[in-house]
Symmetry: C2
Subunit: 343 residues, 2 copies
DNA sequence: TTGTAAGCGTTATCAA
DNA sequence: TTGATAACGCTTACAA
C-alpha cells in the first residue's frame, strides 16, 4: 500500500505552506485565484485525496447523518432512503444506515454504534416493539438532534415527520362503507406505535360517522406479516357465513394480500363477498388479483422532509426546532379489490 | 455541546499514562488485570467514548467495508446485505452502502466516494449498463481489495461470488420441456452482464439437448422491468395463435409476473396455454396467481461468502486471493405456473 | 494574500 | 507491567 499524498506533499511541490494548501483545496476566496487553481491542479495531478479522519478530528464534526430503520425491504423504506439521500448529498452530508429488524435490542445497539460514530444527527423510525426511548438519552444529553419519521415517539426533544394516519385510514374505511360494506374487519398493528393506533382510530371514526357499531371482535391486532394475514383469513373462514365480515381493512399491504389469497383459495369472491383495502402501496398490491385498494404512502417526501428538517437544525435554524411535528399527505388509491358498485 | 471525555481525562483521574489507558480500553493482556478493570469502570463512569477518527488517523485503517449495489429494493438484495452485515459485524467491520440505481455514472461517483472514505475493501454488484471497470482503477492501483458478487466482471484483479446461472437456467428450461413445452420464449437481461448471458446459454443448452431448434425470434432482450414484461405479453398476443410460445422463461420474477398477468387478462390460461418460469424467488413470485416457478437465489449465502472472502483478503489470507471465483448453488422451485402434468 | 505553529485523540515504539 | 514521546493529516488563530 503506497503512501497517501498529503497537503504537505502538495505544499512542498508548490513551495507553499500547508495552510495555504488547505485553504486552496476548499477554494477559499481569501486566496489568490491563481494560487487556488495551481493547488487544485496539482492535487489532481498527484492523486491527492482528502483525509476525513484528520479533518473530522480537528473539526469535531463528521458531516454524517445516521439512519436507523426497522427494515430495508419495503418499497416504502427504499423511497424514504432515496429522499434522504438526495437532500443529504446535496447538502454535503454522508449517511450511514442500519436496520433494527423490528427488534428493540438491535435498535438499541445500533443507536449506540451511531453515537460512537459521532453522527451529527440521527433519523430514526422505531422498531415494532420499542416501548420507550431511553436508549436515545445519550443523544439528548449531548444535544445531538434526533428526527423521527413514520414510526415516531411523542417527545418534546425531537421533531417528527409523519403522515396523517388517522385521516388516511378514515378515508379507506369510508370508501369501503360507500361501497356498501357494513361489517368491516380491521387487521391492526402493534398499538405501541402511533401509526397503528391512529389507523385504528380512523377506522373507528369512519364507523361511528356512519352509524356502524364498533365491534372489537372484528379488530385483530397482529404483526401484519404474511402469516398473520393467513391466520386472519382462517379466522374468517371458521365463522358462520352470516357472521363473516363483508370487508377487511388492513394496516399494511402484505397482510392484506396474504389474507385475500387465502380466502380466494377457499372460494370467497373478492370484492363481491369481501372487499379489501390495504395500506402502503407496496409492489405486491399491484400484482395480486384483484389489485389491492390501498393508501399511497409518500416515502420519498417523508425522506426529504426528515432530512431537510434535520439539516436545518444542524445549521442552527431555530424555526425548524419549534416545528415539532410535520404532517404529510397520503392519498387513497382505489383499485378492484374494493370496487363493488358498477356505475 | 460539552467536551468529550478522552483517554487523557481517564489518565488524570486514575494516575496512569494515556498509553496505559489506551491499552486498558482494548483489554490488552499485557496489562495487570486489575488495572484493566479499573480503566474500564472509570471509562464507563465518565461516559468515555472511543474516537474513531483519531484512531483511524493513527492506524490508517477504517474497519469499514463499502458496498455498492444496483438497488436495495429486492428481497434478494436485502438478503445479501443481511449476510454481509452478519459476517462483517462479527469481524468488527462497519459497512456503508450506496445504490447505483442501475446507472453507470452514479456507480462511478459512488466508487469515488467510497475511495475517499477510505474503505478497507469494496463489495460491488455492477449496474445494468456498466461496460468496463475503469472506475475501479483507483482501488486496484492502491491494492484495496474489491470483491464482486452476483453481477461480476471478469478480471484478474478480484475475487467474485456468483451462482451457476447457466446451470440454474438450464434446470428451469429443462423442467419446462419435461412439462411438454416445445416452443419456449426467453425474456433475457442485458447481455453485458454475465448473469444474463449465462442464463441465455443455459436456456440454449436445454433446448439443444432436447432437440429443439433455437429460434432467436423467441429471445427478447430487455431491462426486465414491469413494463418489459407487459410488452413481451403484448408481443405474444399479437402473434398468430399457432406461432405463440407454449412457455416463457424469464430472467427475473418481476418481468415474469407482469407478463403473466397481462396474458391472463387477455384470456390466456397459465400454465395450460403458456407455462411460466422466473428467476430469483422474489416475494411477488409467491403472491401472483398461479404461483410462479422460479430459481431460489441464495442471497444470504452470497452475502456471507462475499464478506468472508473480502475479510480474509484483508487479513492477508493468501489462499482466498487465489480463489478468484466462488460458485454457490441455486435450486429450482417448481410451483403452479409450470405444472402441466397431473400425476 | 500567505505563513507559523499548536492542537484534535489515539497508538506504536522504545525505554524503564 | 507501565510511561514518554512522536506521529497520523488537517484546520485555524494569529502573525507577517
Amino acid at each position: 500500500m503506497q503512501k497517501d499524498v498529503t497537503i504537505y506533499d502538495l505544499a512542498r511541490e508548490l513551495n507553499l505552506s500547508p495552510a495555504t494548501i488547505s485553504r486552496g483545496l476548499k477554494k477559499s476566496n481569501v486566496l489568490n485565484k491563481d494560487t487556488v487553481n495551481r493547488i487544485l491542479d496539482k492535487a489532481e495531478e498527484m492523486g491527492y485525496r482528502h483525509n476525513n479522519f484528520a479533518s473530522n478530528l480537528r473539526n469535531k464534526r463528521t458531516q454524517t447523518i445516521g439512519i436507523i430503520v426497522p427494515r430495508l425491504n419495503s418499497y416504502f423504506m427504499t423511497s424514504v432512503l432515496a429522499g434522504i439521500e438526495d437532500i443529504a448529498s446535496k447538502e454535503g452530508y454522508n449517511i450511514i444506515i442500519s436496520q433494527s429488524l423490528e427488534k428493540k435490542e438491535l435498535e438499541k445497539s445500533n443507536v449506540h454504534t451511531m453515537f460512537n460514530k459521532r453522527v451529527d444527527g440521527l433519523l430514526i423510525s422505531l422498531a415494532y416493539d420499542t416501548k420507550d426511548i431511553d436508549h436515545l438519552q445519550p443523544f439528548f444529553d449531548k444535544q445531538i438532534p434526533v428526527v423521527f419519521f413514520d414510526r415516531a415517539f411523542p417527545t418534546e426533544h425531537s421533531t417528527c415527520v409523519v403522515i396523517n394516519n388517522h385521516e388516511a385510514a378514515y378515508k379507506a374505511v369510508k370508501h369501503l362503507i360507500e361501497q356498501g360494506c357494513k361489517r368491516i374487519m380491521h387487521l391492526a398493528g402493534n398499538q405501541l406505535r402511533d401509526v397503528y393506533t391512529d389507523r385504528l382510530n380512523g377506522y373507528k371514526q369512519a364507523l361511528e360517522e356512519n352509524n356502524i357499531a364498533f365491534d372489537d371482535q372484528l379488530v385483530h391486532i397482529c404483526k401484519l406479516g404474511e402469516q398473520d394475514g393467513i391466520e386472519a383469513a382462517d379466522a374468517i373462514l371458521s365463522m358462520q357465513p352470516e357472521e363473516r365480515p363483508d370487508a377487511v381493512f388492513c394496516a399494511n399491504d402484505i397482510s392484506a394480500v396474504y389474507c385475500m389469497s387465502r380466502l380466494k383459495e377457499n372460494g370467497i369472491k373478492i370484492p363481491e363477498d369481501i372487499a379489501f383495502a390495504g395500506f402502503n402501496n407496496d409492489a405486491v398490491s399491484r400484482v395480486v388479483e384483484p389489485k389491492l385498494t390501498t393508501i399511497d404512502y409518500p416515502g420519498y417526501n417523508i425522506g426529504e422532509a426528515a432530512a431537510s428538517g434535520l439539516i436545518n437544525i444542524l445549521k442552527g435554524d431555530i424555526t425548524m426546532i419549534k416545528t415539532t411535528k410535520l404532517v404529510l399527505q397520503a392519498s387513497l388509491l382505489v383499485r378492484d379489490s374494493s370496487k363493488r358498485q358498477k356505475k
